[in-house]
Symmetry: D2
Subunit: 91 residues, 4 copies
């Protein structure tokens, strides 16, 4: 099993995301207009994509290669190219 | 301002989504493995996309044309074609 | 059947897209590096998304309501909100 | 520079994609209906996503770790988890 590094940073992100989802819930409960609800969902979706991108980045940089057993085996430049694609698609 | 129809249905969706985000939070707090966290986020993202698709559908079918003032003005077939595209992109 | 307006503009877009796809083909034929191919594909994907967004915009503004039969029936503000969402998702 | 393996397979994909883009072009030239054009674009977009997924897969499996210098350094299970996420997002 691969545990996750930077958990505090990810927890901040996921708590902010929870706040945004609660905001959508409150907006729906209080009969807020459709346009506001669409904006709130778009914002929460962006936050979710950012969270996903960060977990994937962590996964690529720390789990694809066990750095203790194989130091320097991960090609950092190739990893960075991959993460660029991931970020572009998760926007 | 356009209020939202089917609010109860949307509220069920957003509450389920909140539960999924809380699940991600608990997973991060309890040091769950990266693979599980990735799956939880992918699930929550799907739920968010479904919520967005439903709000957009509601918006297209009820807000683009004021049916009281202009009954029958919305071309249902053209609207359905649009919603197919929206659903395909929000998957 | 709904014919498409602004066909010349869309044709320019699709021809540019074809040029980009041919560029990917040439890059693969000439054994270009992976990083360049990834960039070329990302560019072509952006062009495809822009084309899709433009056809959807045309569809929303001209096909959802038959303006000859129902002038003023389309709520322009609601349509614009929808197109904002579509553009955000097609980026 | 990382050259690409499986080039013939990728070339088949990109040529099929080019054929689909040419189909969109012909549809626009012949004043085909909007609904058909939307479907053609959606199909081409799927083909483009499949091409991107394949190049990314190749990149992950062959470029992140130089297998000649570091055999067995790439954690195949972690790589497969990453590719699952990539495929889900590129659908």
């Amino acid at each position: 099993m691969h545990t996750i590094r930077h958990r505090e940073k990810l927890l901040s992100r996921v708590r902010r995301l929870r706040g945004q989802v609660e905001g959508i819930e409150r907006a729906l409960e209080s009969d807020t207009g459709c346009e506001t609800v669409l904006h709130l969902i778009a914002g929460a979706r962006g936050a979710m994509a950012g969270l996903m991108a960060e977990v994937v980045e962590d996964h690529v940089l720390t789990h694809l290669v066990d750095a203790d057993k194989h130091p320097d085996a991960l090609d950092r430049e190739a990893a960075e190219q991959l993460l660029e694609v991931v970020r572009a698609y998760l926007k």
